[in-house]
Protein backbone atom coordinates (compact mmCIF):
# COMPACT_ATOMS: atom_id res chain seq x y z
CA UNK A 1 0.00 0.00 0.00
CA UNK A 2 1.55 3.27 -1.04
CA UNK A 3 -0.90 5.51 0.78
CA UNK A 4 0.83 4.70 4.06
CA UNK A 5 2.53 7.83 5.35
CA UNK A 6 4.55 6.03 8.01
CA UNK A 7 5.33 2.35 8.08
CA UNK A 8 7.65 0.57 10.50
CA UNK A 9 8.55 -3.08 10.24
CA UNK A 10 9.69 -5.02 13.29
CA UNK A 11 11.29 -1.83 14.54
CA UNK A 12 13.56 -2.57 17.48
CA UNK A 13 16.14 -0.64 19.43
CA UNK A 14 18.18 -1.78 22.39
CA UNK A 15 20.18 0.44 24.70
CA UNK A 16 22.54 -1.99 26.39
CA UNK A 17 20.31 -4.55 28.08
CA UNK A 18 17.16 -2.49 27.72
CA UNK A 19 14.89 -3.06 24.75
CA UNK A 20 13.21 0.33 24.49
CA UNK A 21 11.21 -0.44 21.36
CA UNK A 22 10.50 -4.06 20.58
CA UNK A 23 9.35 -5.17 17.15
CA UNK A 24 6.84 -2.42 16.50
CA UNK A 25 4.86 -2.60 13.24
CA UNK A 26 3.29 0.81 13.00
CA UNK A 27 1.17 1.67 9.98
CA UNK A 28 -0.33 5.12 9.67
CA UNK A 29 -2.27 5.99 6.54
CA UNK A 30 -1.80 9.33 4.83
CA UNK A 31 -3.99 12.00 6.37
CA UNK A 32 -4.76 9.96 9.47
CA UNK A 33 -4.26 11.08 13.02
CA UNK A 34 -2.78 8.56 15.37
CA UNK A 35 -2.25 8.96 19.08
CA UNK A 36 0.31 6.81 20.85
CA UNK A 37 -0.40 6.37 24.52
CA UNK A 38 1.05 4.21 27.22
CA UNK A 39 2.60 4.35 30.68
CA UNK A 40 5.94 6.04 31.35
CA UNK A 41 8.85 4.18 29.83
CA UNK A 42 6.68 2.44 27.24
CA UNK A 43 8.97 3.64 24.45
CA UNK A 44 6.72 6.27 22.91
CA UNK A 45 9.30 9.02 22.58
CA UNK A 46 11.95 6.53 21.47
CA UNK A 47 9.59 5.41 18.71
CA UNK A 48 9.37 9.06 17.63
CA UNK A 49 13.14 9.35 17.69
CA UNK A 50 13.35 6.28 15.48
CA UNK A 51 10.86 7.67 12.97
CA UNK A 52 12.43 11.16 12.87
CA UNK A 53 15.99 9.82 12.88
CA UNK A 54 17.41 11.01 16.21
CA UNK A 55 17.95 7.34 17.11
CA UNK A 56 18.94 4.53 14.73
CA UNK A 57 17.24 1.17 15.18
CA UNK A 58 19.04 -2.02 16.19
CA UNK A 59 16.90 -3.81 13.63
CA UNK A 60 13.80 -3.21 11.54
CA UNK A 61 12.95 -0.49 9.04
CA UNK A 62 11.21 2.87 8.83
CA UNK A 63 9.41 3.91 5.65
CA UNK A 64 8.01 7.33 4.81
CA UNK A 65 5.46 7.31 2.00
CA UNK A 66 6.80 3.96 0.88
CA UNK A 67 10.43 5.07 0.87
CA UNK A 68 12.91 3.33 3.16
CA UNK A 69 14.55 6.05 5.27
CA UNK A 70 16.09 3.81 7.95
CA UNK A 71 19.64 4.83 7.07
CA UNK A 72 18.99 8.54 6.62
CA UNK A 73 20.09 11.21 9.11
CA UNK A 74 17.62 13.62 10.72
CA UNK A 75 17.92 16.44 8.17
CA UNK A 76 17.40 14.05 5.25
CA UNK A 77 14.22 12.70 6.85
CA UNK A 78 12.99 16.24 7.37
CA UNK A 79 13.51 16.83 3.68
CA UNK A 80 11.68 13.56 3.01
CA UNK A 81 8.66 15.12 4.70
CA UNK A 82 8.65 14.28 8.41
CA UNK A 83 8.55 17.09 10.96
CA UNK A 84 8.47 16.92 14.71
CA UNK A 85 8.13 18.82 17.93
CA UNK A 86 9.96 17.83 21.07
CA UNK A 87 8.69 16.82 24.49
CA UNK A 88 10.64 19.66 26.08
CA UNK A 89 10.26 22.90 24.18
CA UNK A 90 13.09 23.12 21.69
CA UNK A 91 13.42 26.56 20.12
CA UNK A 92 16.23 28.94 19.27
CA UNK A 93 16.04 30.96 22.49
CA UNK A 94 18.45 33.74 21.55
CA UNK A 95 16.84 34.42 18.18
CA UNK A 96 13.67 36.41 17.65
CA UNK A 97 10.41 34.63 16.89
CA UNK A 98 10.71 35.90 13.32
CA UNK A 99 14.21 34.49 12.90
CA UNK A 100 13.04 31.17 14.32
CA UNK A 101 10.36 31.00 11.64
CA UNK A 102 12.70 32.33 8.93
CA UNK A 103 15.16 29.50 9.58
CA UNK A 104 12.35 26.99 9.47
CA UNK A 105 11.08 28.26 6.12
CA UNK A 106 14.61 28.58 4.72
CA UNK A 107 15.39 25.03 5.84
CA UNK A 108 13.09 23.70 3.14
CA UNK A 109 14.87 25.67 0.42
CA UNK A 110 18.37 24.32 -0.30
CA UNK A 111 19.40 27.47 -2.18
CA UNK A 112 18.56 29.75 0.72
CA UNK A 113 19.80 27.33 3.35
CA UNK A 114 23.29 27.33 1.82
CA UNK A 115 23.57 31.07 1.20
CA UNK A 116 26.31 32.78 3.16
CA UNK A 117 26.57 36.22 1.62
CA UNK A 118 23.03 37.61 1.52
CA UNK A 119 21.11 38.53 4.70
CA UNK A 120 18.48 36.01 5.81
CA UNK A 121 15.79 38.70 5.85
CA UNK A 122 16.40 39.70 2.22
CA UNK A 123 14.69 36.77 0.53
CA UNK A 124 11.27 38.06 -0.57
CA UNK A 125 9.68 34.64 -1.00
CA UNK A 126 10.87 33.57 2.47
CA UNK A 127 9.65 36.83 4.03
CA UNK A 128 6.22 36.47 2.40
CA UNK A 129 5.77 32.99 3.84
CA UNK A 130 7.12 34.05 7.25
CA UNK A 131 4.63 36.93 7.39
CA UNK A 132 1.81 34.57 6.39
CA UNK A 133 2.73 32.08 9.08
CA UNK A 134 3.09 34.71 11.81
CA UNK A 135 -0.28 36.15 10.83
CA UNK A 136 -1.99 32.79 10.57
CA UNK A 137 -0.77 31.62 13.96
CA UNK A 138 -1.36 34.89 15.82
CA UNK A 139 2.33 35.46 16.44
CA UNK A 140 2.65 38.73 14.51
CA UNK A 141 2.42 40.82 17.66
CA UNK A 142 5.36 39.02 19.27
CA UNK A 143 7.52 38.64 16.17
CA UNK A 144 10.42 40.67 17.57
CA UNK A 145 10.38 38.92 20.96
CA UNK A 146 12.59 36.07 22.05
CA UNK A 147 10.70 32.80 22.57
CA UNK A 148 11.32 33.08 26.31
CA UNK A 149 8.98 36.11 26.42
CA UNK A 150 6.10 34.01 25.07
CA UNK A 151 3.62 32.07 27.17
CA UNK A 152 4.32 28.36 27.28
CA UNK A 153 1.30 27.69 25.10
CA UNK A 154 2.58 30.14 22.50
CA UNK A 155 5.98 28.47 22.62
CA UNK A 156 4.34 25.12 21.87
CA UNK A 157 2.48 26.73 18.98
CA UNK A 158 5.73 28.23 17.69
CA UNK A 159 7.17 24.71 17.75
CA UNK A 160 4.33 23.49 15.56
CA UNK A 161 4.86 26.45 13.23
CA UNK A 162 8.56 25.61 12.89
CA UNK A 163 7.79 21.96 12.31
CA UNK A 164 5.24 22.61 9.60
CA UNK A 165 6.82 25.67 7.97
CA UNK A 166 8.62 23.56 5.40
CA UNK A 167 5.32 22.05 4.30
CA UNK A 168 6.13 18.63 5.67
CA UNK A 169 3.50 15.95 5.22
CA UNK A 170 3.96 14.00 8.45
CA UNK A 171 3.93 15.74 11.80
CA UNK A 172 5.11 14.06 14.99
CA UNK A 173 3.91 15.84 18.13
CA UNK A 174 5.62 14.76 21.33
CA UNK A 175 3.29 15.62 24.21
CA UNK A 176 2.12 18.93 22.77
CA UNK A 177 0.09 19.91 25.84
CA UNK A 178 2.55 18.84 28.54
CA UNK A 179 3.14 21.64 31.03
CA UNK A 180 0.64 23.96 29.36
CA UNK A 181 -2.07 25.62 31.45
CA UNK A 182 -5.61 24.25 31.14
CA UNK A 183 -6.99 27.12 29.09
CA UNK A 184 -3.96 27.23 26.80
CA UNK A 185 -4.12 23.47 26.32
CA UNK A 186 -7.72 23.87 25.17
CA UNK A 187 -6.58 26.42 22.59
CA UNK A 188 -3.67 24.23 21.55
CA UNK A 189 -5.89 21.21 20.96
CA UNK A 190 -8.19 23.34 18.80
CA UNK A 191 -5.17 24.52 16.88
CA UNK A 192 -3.93 21.00 16.27
CA UNK A 193 -7.41 19.88 15.36
CA UNK A 194 -7.60 22.67 12.78
CA UNK A 195 -4.41 21.63 11.01
CA UNK A 196 -4.95 20.69 7.36
CA UNK A 197 -6.51 17.25 6.96
CA UNK A 198 -3.93 16.09 4.42
CA UNK A 199 -1.26 16.37 7.11
CA UNK A 200 -0.60 13.03 8.76
CA UNK A 201 -0.28 13.50 12.52
CA UNK A 202 1.16 11.12 15.06
CA UNK A 203 1.12 12.33 18.63
CA UNK A 204 2.36 11.04 21.92
CA UNK A 205 0.08 12.24 24.66
CA UNK A 206 -0.38 11.64 28.36
CA UNK A 207 -3.64 13.51 28.56
CA UNK A 208 -6.30 10.96 27.51
CA UNK A 209 -8.90 13.59 26.72
CA UNK A 210 -6.53 15.23 24.26
CA UNK A 211 -5.56 11.92 22.67
CA UNK A 212 -9.16 10.80 22.29
CA UNK A 213 -10.24 14.14 20.88
CA UNK A 214 -7.60 14.50 18.20
CA UNK A 215 -6.93 10.95 17.09
CA UNK A 216 -8.75 8.81 14.57
CA UNK A 217 -6.93 5.78 15.92
CA UNK A 218 -4.99 5.04 19.04
CA UNK A 219 -2.01 2.78 19.58
CA UNK A 220 -1.29 1.67 23.12
CA UNK A 221 2.33 0.83 23.89
CA UNK A 222 3.59 -1.09 26.90
CA UNK A 223 7.20 -2.05 27.60
CA UNK A 224 8.33 -1.13 24.11
CA UNK A 225 5.68 -3.24 22.41
CA UNK A 226 2.50 -2.35 20.64
CA UNK A 227 -0.30 -3.63 22.86
CA UNK A 228 -3.29 -2.76 20.75
CA UNK A 229 -4.35 -0.34 18.02
CA UNK A 230 -7.90 0.74 17.30
CA UNK A 231 -10.42 3.55 17.19
CA UNK A 232 -10.86 5.57 20.40
CA UNK A 233 -14.11 3.89 21.43
CA UNK A 234 -12.63 0.40 21.24
CA UNK A 235 -9.54 1.46 23.15
CA UNK A 236 -11.56 3.09 25.90
CA UNK A 237 -13.27 -0.20 26.67
CA UNK A 238 -10.30 -2.49 26.17
CA UNK A 239 -9.50 -4.44 29.30
CA UNK A 240 -5.82 -4.81 28.48
CA UNK A 241 -5.45 -1.06 28.26
CA UNK A 242 -7.08 -0.47 31.62
CA UNK A 243 -4.81 -3.14 33.02
CA UNK A 244 -1.70 -1.59 31.51
CA UNK A 245 -2.53 1.73 33.07
CA UNK A 246 -3.78 0.64 36.46
CA UNK A 247 -1.69 -2.48 36.91
CA UNK A 248 -3.10 -5.95 37.55
CA UNK A 249 -1.30 -6.65 40.80
CA UNK A 250 -2.63 -3.58 42.47
CA UNK A 251 -6.24 -4.22 41.47
CA UNK A 252 -5.92 -7.83 42.59
CA UNK A 253 -4.62 -6.77 45.95
CA UNK A 254 -7.45 -4.33 46.46
Amino acid sequence: MTDLAVETDALTVRFGGLTAVDGVDLRVATGHRRAIIGPNGAGKTTLFNLIAGQVRPTSGTVKLHGRDVTGLPVQARTRAGVARTFQITNLFDELTVTDNVRLAVAGADPKVRRTFWRPLHRFPHIEARVDDLLEQWDLAAVRDERPIALSYGQQRILEIVLATAGQQRVLLLDEPTAGVSKSEAENLVDTIDALPRDLTIILVEHDMDVAFRIADEITVMVNGEELVTGPPDTIRGDERVVEAYLGRDESDAA
Binding site: V74, L91, E94, V112, R118, G166
Partner: protein, 344 residues
Protein backbone atom coordinates in the same frame (compact mmCIF):
# COMPACT_ATOMS: atom_id res chain seq x y z
CA UNK B 1 4.04 52.39 14.60
CA UNK B 2 6.25 54.15 17.09
CA UNK B 3 8.32 50.98 17.49
CA UNK B 4 9.01 51.01 13.77
CA UNK B 5 9.96 54.67 13.91
CA UNK B 6 12.25 54.04 16.86
CA UNK B 7 13.84 51.19 14.94
CA UNK B 8 14.47 53.33 11.89
CA UNK B 9 15.83 56.09 14.09
CA UNK B 10 18.16 53.70 15.89
CA UNK B 11 19.42 52.36 12.58
CA UNK B 12 20.07 55.89 11.36
CA UNK B 13 21.86 56.79 14.58
CA UNK B 14 23.95 53.65 14.32
CA UNK B 15 24.96 54.56 10.80
CA UNK B 16 25.85 58.10 11.77
CA UNK B 17 27.86 56.80 14.73
CA UNK B 18 29.67 54.30 12.51
CA UNK B 19 30.46 57.01 9.98
CA UNK B 20 31.76 59.26 12.74
CA UNK B 21 33.98 56.51 14.13
CA UNK B 22 35.20 55.75 10.61
CA UNK B 23 36.08 59.37 9.91
CA UNK B 24 37.76 59.70 13.30
CA UNK B 25 39.88 56.62 12.64
CA UNK B 26 40.90 57.74 9.17
CA UNK B 27 41.69 61.27 10.41
CA UNK B 28 43.50 60.06 13.54
CA UNK B 29 47.03 60.42 12.08
CA UNK B 30 46.49 64.19 11.81
CA UNK B 31 45.71 64.40 15.50
CA UNK B 32 47.53 61.77 17.51
CA UNK B 33 51.20 60.80 17.91
CA UNK B 34 52.94 58.19 15.78
CA UNK B 35 53.19 55.95 18.83
CA UNK B 36 49.42 56.07 19.12
CA UNK B 37 49.06 55.28 15.43
CA UNK B 38 51.06 52.13 16.10
CA UNK B 39 48.69 51.26 18.93
CA UNK B 40 45.65 51.91 16.73
CA UNK B 41 47.08 49.65 14.02
CA UNK B 42 47.49 46.92 16.61
CA UNK B 43 43.93 47.39 17.82
CA UNK B 44 42.60 47.22 14.26
CA UNK B 45 44.47 43.97 13.55
CA UNK B 46 43.35 42.38 16.81
CA UNK B 47 39.79 43.57 16.21
CA UNK B 48 39.72 41.64 12.93
CA UNK B 49 41.26 38.60 14.64
CA UNK B 50 38.58 38.88 17.34
CA UNK B 51 35.76 39.17 14.79
CA UNK B 52 37.01 36.04 13.05
CA UNK B 53 37.33 34.19 16.35
CA UNK B 54 33.86 35.22 17.48
CA UNK B 55 32.20 33.46 14.52
CA UNK B 56 33.17 30.22 16.23
CA UNK B 57 33.03 31.40 19.84
CA UNK B 58 30.27 33.96 20.32
CA UNK B 59 28.03 32.95 17.44
CA UNK B 60 28.78 29.24 17.22
CA UNK B 61 29.21 28.65 20.94
CA UNK B 62 32.35 26.59 20.38
CA UNK B 63 35.17 27.61 22.75
CA UNK B 64 38.29 27.42 20.59
CA UNK B 65 41.61 27.81 22.36
CA UNK B 66 43.50 27.26 19.14
CA UNK B 67 42.87 30.33 17.04
CA UNK B 68 46.52 31.29 17.21
CA UNK B 69 46.97 28.46 14.69
CA UNK B 70 45.20 30.46 11.97
CA UNK B 71 46.71 33.75 13.10
CA UNK B 72 50.25 32.34 13.11
CA UNK B 73 49.63 30.53 9.84
CA UNK B 74 48.87 33.88 8.19
CA UNK B 75 52.02 35.32 9.74
CA UNK B 76 54.21 32.53 8.42
CA UNK B 77 52.60 32.75 4.98
CA UNK B 78 53.69 36.37 4.59
CA UNK B 79 56.98 35.66 6.37
CA UNK B 80 58.07 32.66 4.33
CA UNK B 81 56.28 33.90 1.23
CA UNK B 82 57.82 37.35 0.95
CA UNK B 83 61.11 37.11 2.83
CA UNK B 84 62.20 33.66 1.71
CA UNK B 85 60.31 33.03 -1.54
CA UNK B 86 59.74 36.46 -3.01
CA UNK B 87 55.97 36.04 -3.45
CA UNK B 88 53.75 39.07 -4.14
CA UNK B 89 51.22 40.41 -1.66
CA UNK B 90 48.23 39.21 -3.71
CA UNK B 91 49.62 35.67 -3.58
CA UNK B 92 50.08 36.05 0.17
CA UNK B 93 46.48 37.15 0.70
CA UNK B 94 45.06 34.40 -1.51
CA UNK B 95 47.22 31.77 0.17
CA UNK B 96 46.26 33.04 3.63
CA UNK B 97 42.56 32.85 2.75
CA UNK B 98 42.82 29.40 1.19
CA UNK B 99 45.14 27.77 3.73
CA UNK B 100 43.34 29.46 6.64
CA UNK B 101 40.06 28.08 5.30
CA UNK B 102 41.51 24.61 4.79
CA UNK B 103 43.01 24.51 8.28
CA UNK B 104 39.69 25.83 9.62
CA UNK B 105 37.78 23.08 7.85
CA UNK B 106 40.18 20.47 9.27
CA UNK B 107 39.76 21.80 12.80
CA UNK B 108 35.99 21.91 12.21
CA UNK B 109 35.95 18.25 11.21
CA UNK B 110 38.19 17.25 14.12
CA UNK B 111 35.91 18.93 16.67
CA UNK B 112 32.65 17.78 15.08
CA UNK B 113 31.79 15.30 17.82
CA UNK B 114 33.05 17.43 20.70
CA UNK B 115 31.42 20.02 22.89
CA UNK B 116 32.52 22.54 25.48
CA UNK B 117 35.84 21.85 27.12
CA UNK B 118 36.68 19.09 24.62
CA UNK B 119 36.52 21.57 21.75
CA UNK B 120 38.85 23.75 23.79
CA UNK B 121 41.36 20.92 24.30
CA UNK B 122 41.27 19.69 20.70
CA UNK B 123 41.77 23.16 19.22
CA UNK B 124 44.55 23.80 21.72
CA UNK B 125 46.22 20.57 20.63
CA UNK B 126 46.09 21.54 16.96
CA UNK B 127 47.57 24.97 17.67
CA UNK B 128 50.30 23.50 19.86
CA UNK B 129 51.17 21.01 17.12
CA UNK B 130 51.56 23.88 14.67
CA UNK B 131 53.61 25.79 17.23
CA UNK B 132 55.91 22.78 17.59
CA UNK B 133 56.21 22.51 13.84
CA UNK B 134 57.19 26.17 13.51
CA UNK B 135 59.68 25.70 16.31
CA UNK B 136 61.32 22.65 14.79
CA UNK B 137 61.19 23.20 11.04
CA UNK B 138 64.12 25.59 11.26
CA UNK B 139 64.84 25.30 7.55
CA UNK B 140 61.56 26.99 6.72
CA UNK B 141 60.72 28.99 9.80
CA UNK B 142 64.15 29.73 11.29
CA UNK B 143 62.74 28.15 14.44
CA UNK B 144 62.97 30.16 17.60
CA UNK B 145 64.56 33.12 15.84
CA UNK B 146 61.53 33.66 13.67
CA UNK B 147 61.52 35.49 10.37
CA UNK B 148 62.38 39.16 10.52
CA UNK B 149 62.40 41.77 7.78
CA UNK B 150 58.83 41.49 6.54
CA UNK B 151 58.25 44.64 4.49
CA UNK B 152 55.33 46.85 5.44
CA UNK B 153 55.50 48.42 2.00
CA UNK B 154 53.99 45.25 0.52
CA UNK B 155 50.52 46.13 1.73
CA UNK B 156 50.72 49.84 0.98
CA UNK B 157 50.30 51.17 -2.52
CA UNK B 158 52.90 53.94 -2.85
CA UNK B 159 55.13 55.15 -0.02
CA UNK B 160 55.12 53.05 3.12
CA UNK B 161 55.13 55.23 6.16
CA UNK B 162 53.64 54.38 9.52
CA UNK B 163 50.59 56.41 8.56
CA UNK B 164 49.97 54.94 5.11
CA UNK B 165 50.49 51.48 6.55
CA UNK B 166 47.89 52.28 9.21
CA UNK B 167 45.43 53.33 6.51
CA UNK B 168 46.08 50.18 4.53
CA UNK B 169 45.49 48.04 7.65
CA UNK B 170 42.33 49.99 8.36
CA UNK B 171 41.08 49.33 4.82
CA UNK B 172 41.78 45.58 4.96
CA UNK B 173 40.19 45.30 8.41
CA UNK B 174 37.12 47.26 7.25
CA UNK B 175 36.68 45.08 4.16
CA UNK B 176 37.02 41.76 5.96
CA UNK B 177 35.06 43.04 8.97
CA UNK B 178 32.19 43.90 6.61
CA UNK B 179 32.42 40.46 5.01
CA UNK B 180 32.14 38.85 8.45
CA UNK B 181 29.13 41.07 9.21
CA UNK B 182 27.40 39.97 6.02
CA UNK B 183 28.25 36.36 6.65
CA UNK B 184 26.80 36.46 10.16
CA UNK B 185 23.48 37.84 8.91
CA UNK B 186 23.16 35.31 6.09
CA UNK B 187 21.08 32.14 6.42
CA UNK B 188 24.29 30.19 7.08
CA UNK B 189 25.42 32.72 9.68
CA UNK B 190 22.09 32.68 11.51
CA UNK B 191 22.05 28.87 11.33
CA UNK B 192 25.43 28.83 13.10
CA UNK B 193 23.89 30.79 15.98
CA UNK B 194 20.85 28.52 15.88
CA UNK B 195 23.11 25.45 16.12
CA UNK B 196 24.48 26.89 19.36
CA UNK B 197 20.95 27.28 20.70
CA UNK B 198 19.66 23.86 19.62
CA UNK B 199 21.43 21.51 17.24
CA UNK B 200 18.59 18.99 17.43
CA UNK B 201 16.02 21.57 16.39
CA UNK B 202 18.21 22.80 13.53
CA UNK B 203 18.65 19.25 12.19
CA UNK B 204 14.91 18.68 12.47
CA UNK B 205 14.40 21.75 10.25
CA UNK B 206 16.42 20.11 7.48
CA UNK B 207 19.86 21.60 8.13
CA UNK B 208 22.94 19.40 8.13
CA UNK B 209 24.39 20.69 11.40
CA UNK B 210 27.93 19.40 10.81
CA UNK B 211 28.23 21.44 7.60
CA UNK B 212 27.46 24.65 9.50
CA UNK B 213 29.95 23.85 12.24
CA UNK B 214 32.66 23.20 9.69
CA UNK B 215 31.57 26.30 7.77
CA UNK B 216 31.97 28.45 10.90
CA UNK B 217 35.53 27.22 11.42
CA UNK B 218 36.34 27.61 7.72
CA UNK B 219 35.31 31.25 7.46
CA UNK B 220 36.78 32.01 10.87
CA UNK B 221 40.10 30.41 9.92
CA UNK B 222 40.36 32.29 6.64
CA UNK B 223 39.71 35.69 8.20
CA UNK B 224 41.96 34.97 11.21
CA UNK B 225 44.78 34.13 8.79
CA UNK B 226 44.32 37.52 7.09
CA UNK B 227 44.57 39.19 10.49
CA UNK B 228 47.75 37.16 11.04
CA UNK B 229 49.22 38.49 7.79
CA UNK B 230 48.55 42.05 8.95
CA UNK B 231 50.01 41.37 12.40
CA UNK B 232 53.25 39.98 11.00
CA UNK B 233 53.67 42.93 8.66
CA UNK B 234 52.87 45.35 11.48
CA UNK B 235 55.64 43.80 13.58
CA UNK B 236 57.84 43.17 10.52
CA UNK B 237 58.36 39.80 12.15
CA UNK B 238 56.81 36.39 12.65
CA UNK B 239 57.91 33.80 15.21
CA UNK B 240 56.51 30.85 17.16
CA UNK B 241 54.94 33.31 19.60
CA UNK B 242 52.40 34.20 16.89
CA UNK B 243 51.21 30.60 17.26
CA UNK B 244 51.45 30.45 21.05
CA UNK B 245 48.46 29.47 23.16
CA UNK B 246 48.64 32.81 24.95
CA UNK B 247 47.63 34.39 21.63
CA UNK B 248 44.59 32.10 21.53
CA UNK B 249 43.76 33.04 25.11
CA UNK B 250 44.12 36.72 24.34
CA UNK B 251 41.69 36.66 21.42
CA UNK B 252 39.18 34.79 23.58
CA UNK B 253 39.56 37.58 26.11
CA UNK B 254 38.89 40.23 23.45
CA UNK B 255 35.53 38.58 22.82
CA UNK B 256 34.69 38.02 26.49
CA UNK B 257 35.71 41.48 27.70
CA UNK B 258 33.97 43.27 24.83
CA UNK B 259 30.92 41.00 24.91
CA UNK B 260 30.86 37.78 22.89
CA UNK B 261 27.15 38.06 22.21
CA UNK B 262 27.63 41.26 20.22
CA UNK B 263 29.12 41.66 16.77
CA UNK B 264 31.18 44.64 17.92
CA UNK B 265 32.20 42.87 21.15
CA UNK B 266 35.66 41.72 19.99
CA UNK B 267 36.38 45.18 18.55
CA UNK B 268 35.60 46.87 21.85
CA UNK B 269 37.47 44.12 23.72
CA UNK B 270 40.56 44.47 21.53
CA UNK B 271 40.56 48.24 22.02
CA UNK B 272 40.14 47.91 25.78
CA UNK B 273 42.78 45.23 26.26
CA UNK B 274 45.42 46.74 23.97
CA UNK B 275 44.90 50.12 25.65
CA UNK B 276 45.23 48.45 29.02
CA UNK B 277 48.38 46.68 27.88
CA UNK B 278 49.98 49.92 26.74
CA UNK B 279 49.03 51.66 29.96
CA UNK B 280 50.11 48.83 32.26
CA UNK B 281 53.45 48.38 30.50
CA UNK B 282 54.44 51.66 32.16
CA UNK B 283 54.36 49.95 35.59
CA UNK B 284 55.05 46.27 35.12
CA UNK B 285 56.08 43.69 32.58
CA UNK B 286 53.89 40.99 34.15
CA UNK B 287 51.32 41.36 31.40
CA UNK B 288 49.96 37.81 31.66
CA UNK B 289 49.15 38.35 35.33
CA UNK B 290 47.27 41.53 34.46
CA UNK B 291 45.46 39.70 31.68
CA UNK B 292 44.42 36.96 34.10
CA UNK B 293 43.18 39.51 36.58
CA UNK B 294 41.23 41.27 33.83
CA UNK B 295 39.56 37.97 33.01
CA UNK B 296 38.60 37.30 36.61
CA UNK B 297 37.24 40.82 37.13
CA UNK B 298 35.27 40.66 33.89
CA UNK B 299 33.70 37.34 34.90
CA UNK B 300 32.82 38.70 38.33
CA UNK B 301 31.48 42.11 37.45
CA UNK B 302 30.39 42.02 33.82
CA UNK B 303 30.01 38.45 32.56
CA UNK B 304 28.33 39.79 29.41
CA UNK B 305 31.28 42.07 28.69
CA UNK B 306 31.44 45.82 28.19
CA UNK B 307 28.70 45.86 25.55
CA UNK B 308 26.54 43.64 27.74
CA UNK B 309 26.82 46.24 30.46
CA UNK B 310 25.99 49.05 28.01
CA UNK B 311 23.04 47.05 26.71
CA UNK B 312 21.68 46.49 30.23
CA UNK B 313 21.95 50.18 31.05
CA UNK B 314 20.24 51.10 27.81
CA UNK B 315 17.37 48.72 28.46
CA UNK B 316 16.90 50.03 31.99
CA UNK B 317 17.00 53.59 30.73
CA UNK B 318 14.50 52.82 28.01
CA UNK B 319 12.14 51.12 30.45
CA UNK B 320 12.27 54.20 32.67
CA UNK B 321 11.63 56.45 29.69
CA UNK B 322 8.67 54.35 28.55
CA UNK B 323 7.27 54.59 32.05
CA UNK B 324 7.62 58.35 31.98
CA UNK B 325 6.08 58.59 28.54
CA UNK B 326 3.11 56.52 29.61
CA UNK B 327 2.64 58.84 32.57
CA UNK B 328 2.79 61.97 30.47
CA UNK B 329 1.05 61.15 27.21
CA UNK B 330 0.27 64.77 26.50
CA UNK B 331 3.92 65.73 26.16
CA UNK B 332 4.49 65.32 22.45
CA UNK B 333 7.93 66.75 22.61
CA UNK B 334 9.19 63.76 24.57
CA UNK B 335 9.84 62.04 21.26
CA UNK B 336 12.66 64.34 20.28
CA UNK B 337 16.23 63.44 21.05
CA UNK B 338 15.49 60.11 22.67
CA UNK B 339 17.62 57.87 20.51
CA UNK B 340 20.52 55.89 21.80
CA UNK B 341 23.71 54.66 20.25
CA UNK B 342 22.33 51.29 19.22
CA UNK B 343 24.99 48.66 19.30
CA UNK B 344 24.30 45.10 18.32
Amino acid sequence: MSAVNADARNRLLLRVALLAVGIALVAAPYVVSSFQIGVLSRIAVFALFGLAFNIVFGAGGMPSLGHAAFFGLGGYIIGIGTVRLDAGIITVFVLALVLGAVLGAIVGVLTLRSHGVYVLLLTLAVAQALWGLAFQQVRWTRGDNGIAGIERSLIVPGDATLVTFYWAVLAVVAIFGALVWWFQRSPAGVAIVAHRESASRLAALGYRVSAYRIGAFTVSGAVAAIAGVLYASLNRFVGPENLAWTMSAEVMLFAIVGGAAFFAGPIVGAAAIVTLEVWVSGFTDRWLAVLGLTYILTMLFMPQGILGLVDDRRRAWRARRDGREAAATSANASDALTGSGGMS
